[in-house]
């Protein structure tokens, strides 16, 4: 038992060390490549809005790049249509290490489409996802929070929410 506890602590320490490294590497400048794997384009619209004056993600050191080779973060939308799987893997492989994968929207999280002959029903089965951003589509504020969680500048808070109300519903 003691040994197991010690291992757990080491894992936690490693996770903390990794988080610090990610923040050091990406905290001030991060280039994003977006990848549409069969999405309805609502997620893309919201992602595009991140660059608009109201959200202005460049002030936080995030930039979009059209080239995977210049990217640090892969933002995947859509339910991972099987026809796109190969291209998704190639895009992931083309991004230099270290890299972050963010699954964006309910489709990429496996919500809307079930796995069938045409889609994998989510990005998680094809790519190693690091951060999950729910929403249909996620608002630019939610995307901004997801990106800040991905680089370790904000702590994710959804883990501690229980989605139960104690009074009358709002």
């Amino acid at each position: 038992m003691t040994g197991q506890g010690a291992t757990e602590l080491t894992v936690q320490e490693n996770a903390e060390e990794l988080r610090r490294t990610v923040t050091r590497l990406f905290g001030r400048s991060l280039h994003i490549r977006t990848l549409d794997t069969g999405s309805c384009a609502a997620c893309e619209q919201e992602i595009r809005l991140l660059a608009a004056p109201h959200y202005d993600l460049h002030r936080l050191g995030f930039f979009f790049t059209p080239a995977p080779r210049h990217a640090d973060l892969l933002m995947v939308t859509g339910p991972m249509v099987r026809a796109f799987e190969n291209a998704a893997r190639k895009t992931y492989d083309a991004i230099p290490d270290p890299k972050i994968v963010v699954a964006t929207g309910a489709c990429a999280l496996g919500g809307v489409y079930q796995p069938d002959a045409f889609t994998r029903g989510g990005a998680g089965g094809t790519l190693p996802v690091d951060v999950w951003i729910p929403g249909c589509p996620p608002s630019p504020l939610a995307l901004l929070q997801g990106l800040l969680v991905a680089v370790g500048r904000l702590a994710g808070k959804v883990k501690d929410l229980d989605f139960s109300l104690n009074g009358t519903p709002r």
Binding site: A106, V131, L141, G156, D162, P169
Partner: protein, 112 residues
Amino acid sequence: MPLWTLRGLRRGVVTTRYPARPDPSARLLPSPPAFRPDVLTPGLADRLVAVCPSRALARDADVLVFDVGACTACGRCRAEAPQAVGDSGEFELAATARAHLIKRIPLAGRPA
């Protein structure tokens, strides 16, 4: 000088202060539902599971399993049972593990 430049100068900066300060428009966003465990009976839970179009809800014995990641915030569960379902008002939902998004809500009448 274009008119919008003058307007911008008069009204100040349009860019949100998030994440340093909360954004006032965040409360207008659609958000996933939150449930009242004291009102949620097993029968009601089954009805909610039936109306959910994105399979975000499932019933596991005396627990309602809510997958926040699969929820599209369509509001059908809220329309089905306004007495038991409300708005969570949360938009900061990014998770570092898929399992963090799966919530288990105990149903009413569950043996303590």
